[in-house]
């Protein structure tokens, strides 16, 4: 057989909840009504946080902020599948993940306000400090996953990154390590179609991002990232696979960044309003609401209560953050090493 096919790869896409709020019941994951309501409340809370952060930024009370509008289902849906003991490796646009994991919300404001102390993850969580350089935390997740396996801990390491992140060498090297060592890792790409001004199709000539996983000997799957059930199911399955020793999974959440890249960006310079508008009906919160309404889980009254509750939580977080004493300038030096170096000991006397 001189010209033969030696490998065939099929890349799947998973959708469960459609834009009308109807689900494919054969694929619908087991979720109680309370869990579904919790999901919805987290979506609303994340969106409320996002709006407030933009507001505070405009007032000069936060620095540059990266909004999550449109990506809430990708974040809440996946984080909802995680255990508190799992290790999470976020990039800078994962406020929904933080919120779903139960991270103290005032600390998120503190971080975006320019205070490192916002990244002191509480001891009951294992969230790595936010990774600003795109994609470079992927090998960290591979390493933590290998370490977990080494120690026999039944946890997975989960890294979040964007479509732009798939172009970095560290994506490649991290995925390869995870594949070779069959690490209990789950890689979640929020393909929001844009990396600042660079559209997805100029980020890579590959048809899907999901397919890139096969280069490393494990499976990649695309899910509708605005479909919280699909994201949840894919993550849940991947975590189960990871924890039972069957190696990593790559999940491409196909979603959309509904607003500017950050508060420092002006998206109208590089993309058409039409495109943005076309994604409006696919809103992830709306979709879950339609589903819940059909199931009788959603009412106007419930909506109001949910929004009010979210507002109270966010208000409280803002005032909590405001009451924190400013950081001691010397802190920027003291946390470089466990102990000050002789030079640093001299330098810190400036404060």
């Amino acid at each position: 057989m001189p010209e033969s096919i030696i490998e065939s790869i099929n890349v799947k896409r998973l959708e469960i909840l459609d834009v009308n709020g109807d689900v494919d019941s054969s694929l619908m994951p087991a979720l109680s009504d309370n869990e579904i309501k919790r999901m919805y409340e987290l979506l609303v809370l994340a969106r409320t946080f996002d709006e407030r952060a933009l507001h505070l930024q405009r007032e000069g009370r936060l620095g540059t902020y990266a909004p999550i509008l449109g990506q809430e289902a990708s974040q809440i849906g996946s984080a909802f599948a995680l255990e508190k003991t799992d290790w999470v490796f976020p990039s800078f646009r994962e406020m929904g993940v933080y919120i779903a994991m139960g991270y103290p919300i005032h600390m998120l404001f503190q971080y975006w306000g320019g205070d490192e102390r916002g990244l002191i993850t509480p001891s009951d969580l294992n969230i790595f400090p936010i990774c600003i350089p795109v994609g470079t935390h992927i090998p960290h997740a591979a390493g933590a996953a290998i370490a977990a396996k080494h120690k026999g801990d039944k946890v997975a390491a989960v890294a979040y990154f964007g479509d732009g992140g798939t172009s970095k060498g560290d994506f490649h090297e991290g995925f390869n390590m995870a594949g070779v060592f069959k690490a209990p890792a789950v890689f979640i790409c929020q393909n929001n179609q844009w990396a600042i001004s660079v559209p997805r199709q100029r980020q890579s000539a590959s048809k899907t991002l999901a397919q890139k996983a096969f280069s490393y000997g494990f499976e990649g799957i695309q899910v509708d990232g605005n479909d919280i059930f699909a994201v949840y199911k894919a993550t849940k399955d991947a975590l189960k696979k990871a924890k039972s020793g069957n190696g990593p999974t790559f999940i491409e959440c196909f979603t959309y960044r509904m607003t500017h890249h950050t508060t420092a960006d002006d998206a109208t310079r590089y993309r058409k309003d039409d495109e943005v508008a076309s994604w409006k009906p696919r809103d992830p919160v709306l979709r879950l609401k339609l589903f819940m309404a059909k199931k009788g889980l959603w009412t106007e009254q419930y909506q109001k209560e949910t929004e009010d509750k979210a507002k109270v939580i966010i208000d409280k977080a803002v005032s909590e953050e405001e009451s924190i004493k400013p950081p001691f300038p010397g802190d920027m030096i003291s946390y470089t090493y466990e102990k000050l170096t002789p030079r640093q000991a001299k330098q810190i006397k400036d404060f």
Binding site: G63, T64, F92, Y111, G113, G114, D115, E116, I130, I132, P133, V134, G135, T136, G164, G165, S167, K168, G169, D170, A195, I196, S197, V198, R202, Q203, S204, A264, D265, R269, Y270, P326, P327, P329, D331, M332, I333, T336, T341, R343, Q344, Q347, D350, F351
Partner: protein, 324 residues
């Protein structure tokens, strides 16, 4: 007939240099993240894609090592690529390409190939951005034989130095202070002048102390010397270093304060100090003082102002060496 000089800021001056060089030489091309349609996150490349098309102003994938590596291939092939790294904190991923390749292709091939590449990147603190957006890592590049390092401090010099860098036959790292991008406006001629690489400039003459600085810290140094008979040097090119100008000034003043925002240990200030301690020691009347960033990672916005050398820290050093 040359156009009237206009009062413009550094972003505009760099944009002008790029535009003029692209008009002059069809081999000059720009590549980087968001440099095209968006015109760069600081708008430095604004309008260039429109004028020169997407083949000459290339929006690339998010891939710092790939950007520099690709630019190396282009440069050796015969183009004059100007690669942008969006912030200096992301250039670390490209150090391997810069040092293992761009710096060495001429030497590796004993002159058969050269690599006329410019890597532009915004550097330094002062705009209260997220982590890794305020790095000042010039010293790494100064320790890379085969690489030149240029840091302008004014719009006029930014334009002239960038033009020289683009025409230079060897790789140049061109550092643009984010703090200065829009801070200062000055008259910048619209004609084709260059400012030579490898030459420092005496910004202010003086007799009692020599203050050596570059980029953003130059302006802080100038504020700090008010009322002091200080000579202030703007290095402009860090590598190759203009020792002649430095030594001449040291022979005159006998006192030196070096100001930079990078961490102290192994910062470029060390090289300047060591050069003086080796070759101009005889003339020194006081220790050589360095006023620098702390030996720490530059903090997030809340503490940023504490990190950079302040006017009062510079003044303290000046007073100390003068009264010595």
């Amino acid at each position: 007939m040359p156009e009237e000089p206009k009062r413009i800021n550094m972003v505009q001056a760099i944009n002008l240099a790029l535009r003029e060089e692209m008009q002059r030489d069809g081999n000059v091309i720009i590549l980087g993240e968001d440099v095209g349609t968006d015109g760069g996150v600081f708008r430095v490349t604004d309008g260039l894609m429109k004028e020169f098309g997407p083949e000459r102003v290339m929006d690339t994938p998010l891939s710092e090592s790939g950007i520099v590596g690709t630019a190396i291939g282009m440069a050796v092939y015969g183009l004059r690529p100007v690669a942008e790294i969006q912030f200096m904190g992301f250039i670390y991923a490209a150090l391997d390409q810069i040092y293992a390749h761009a710096a060495r292709i001429r030497s590796r091939s004993r002159g058969r190939y050269s690599c006329p590449l410019v890597v532009r990147t915004p550097y330094g603190a002062g705009i209260k951005p997220p982590e890794l957006h305020s790095e000042s890592a010039e010293a790494f590049f100064c320790h890379m034989p085969g690489v030149k390092v240029v840091v302008p401090s004014t719009p006029y010099n930014a334009k002239g130095l960038l033009k020289s860098s683009i025409r230079d036959p060897d790789p140049v790292i061109f550092l643009e202070s984010t703090r200065l991008y829009r801070l200062i406006k000055e008259e910048v001629p619209a004609d084709d002048y260059t400012v030579p690489l490898g030459k420092a400039r005496i910004v202010r003459e003086g007799r009692d102390v020599t203050v050596i600085s570059w980029g953003s810290m130059l302006h802080r140094s100038l504020q700090a010397v008010e009322g002091i008979d200080a000579e202030v040097l703007d290095l402009m090119t860090l590598n190759p270093l203009d020792e002649e100008t430095i030594f001449k000034s040291v022979r005159k003043t006998g006192r030196v304060v070096i100001v930079h925002e990078a961490p102290k240990t192994c910062g470029f200030g060390a090289e300047i100090s060591a050069a003086i301690a080796e070759d101009a020691m005889l003339y020194l009347k006081a220790p050589i003082m360095r006023v620098t960033g702390y030996d720490a990672v530059i903090p997030l916005p809340r503490l940023e102002d504490y990190y950079m050398p302040t006017i009062s820290r510079v003044r303290k050093a000046l007073e100390e060496v003068i009264k010595y």
